[in-house]
């Protein structure tokens, strides 16, 4: 590929003060961190995977009921949120890039942009949740549904809706916390071309959360969205 390959860090990376005692080289430490993060993301795949499995089974069983729920899903807000998250992924990628290039100002800028997009997502999500509450669509809390023939099975979908998007939102909140940490560290000039692993790792996490939403959007909002 056309990307630049920068040999970052001198041969004597061992001297790096950020090198933890049990690693021999910075490269080893970075390899370990990366592999650890990806392993963690695999656990996340399977964590969400449990809910996706349930979704697939019930969708197969109660397609009609599931499709009918899409009339209560706000495609505009869902679509906007998808776009917002994609934007946040871009700014996150740019923040990582800025860190790799030791560009502190850009890094802080893009991190803050990412946080703004992330917050926007949560605010929009909050409006959606509120609307569901007002429409009595929260299972277990006075659930009411039209058409009545689907009332029972639609509850399953809404339960999954809240479980999946709620879990996703929780991950977003954690992500925002991590981003705050990154901004503070970046402000303190911790990151440079020699040391940017935390930015990259939290970036991976953020993109992963984005990927989850990329699947949630069509599965929850667009099931039967055709008249």
């Amino acid at each position: 590929m056309a990307d630049t390959v920068v040999p970052a860090g001198p041969e004597t990376a061992v001297e790096d003060i950020r090198l933890k005692h049990h690693f021999a080289t910075s490269a080893q430490q970075m390899d370990a961190d990366t592999l650890g993060m990806w392993t963690f993301l695999i656990t996340e795949v399977l964590f969400f995977g449990g809910m996706f499995t349930a979704y697939v089974m019930y969708r197969n069983m109660y397609l009609g009921a599931f499709a009918s729920t899409s009339q209560y899903m706000n495609v505009v807000l869902g679509g906007t949120n998808t776009a917002v998250l994609i934007c946040s992924s871009l700014t996150m990628a740019l923040a990582v890039r800025a860190a790799q290039l030791s560009n502190r100002r850009h890094q802080i800028l893009f991190l803050i942009l990412t946080m703004i997009f992330g917050t926007a997502f949560l605010v929009i999500k909050g409006f959606e949740y509120h609307a569901k509450w007002v429409e009595h669509l929260v299972p277990g809390f006075g659930f009411q549904y039209e058409p009545a023939q689907y009332a029972h099975h639609a509850q399953i979908l809404f339960f999954l809706y809240f479980a999946m998007t709620g879990m996703h939102a929780l991950h977003m909140v954690v992500g925002l916390g991590l981003l705050t940490y990154l901004v503070v560290q970046a402000y303190r000039r911790v990151f440079s071309a020699n040391y940017f692993v935390p930015v990259e790792m939290i970036g991976l996490y953020w993109h992963f959360v984005d990927i989850v939403w990329i699947f949630l959007f069509p599965l929850l909002y667009l099931i039967g969205h055709r008249r």
């Binding site: 590929m1 490269a27 795949v45 399977l46 996150m92 020699n194 984005d210």
Partner: protein, 118 residues
């Protein structure tokens, strides 16, 4: 021992143009998946929606997350995670989808003593 053989950190810094192009593609695909959902295509709707979602996810993983430049070990781990998710969904689905398969009439079906006697 890969960890010890190279002391350099080989870092691939993506071009801004690449990132922006991917972003553009992702936005377009989001619009597309929404638009397609308004068409009445029967079972094709879900297939198309999933295909678009998979391609979007792959782009995020491949470029934004940099899987393209990672070690083959990382790639293996990513694939393993997806394969395991596949195992869970496929095998569970195999239960639900074959649970009520029709039984063919069996020669022993009319045997008053049941299916197990000679």
């Amino acid at each position: 021992m890969s960890a010890h053989t190279h002391a350099h950190l080989h870092v691939h810094i993506p071009k801004v143009r690449t990132l922006v192009l991917v972003w553009l593609a992702l936005i377009c695909l989001t619009g597309m998946t929404t638009a397609v959902s308004y068409l009445e295509l029967g079972w094709m709707n879900i297939v198309i929606a999933l295909l678009i979602a998979v391609s979007k996810a792959s782009m995020v993983a491949w470029i934004f997350m940099g899987v393209r430049h990672t070690t083959s070990l990382t790639k293996l781990f990513v694939v393993a995670g997806l394969v395991w998710l596949g195992i869970m969904i496929l095998i569970t689905a195999s239960d639900y989808n074959t649970r009520n398969w029709t039984y063919q009439p069996m020669p022993w079906a009319n045997n008053p003593a049941g299916g197990l006697s000679k």
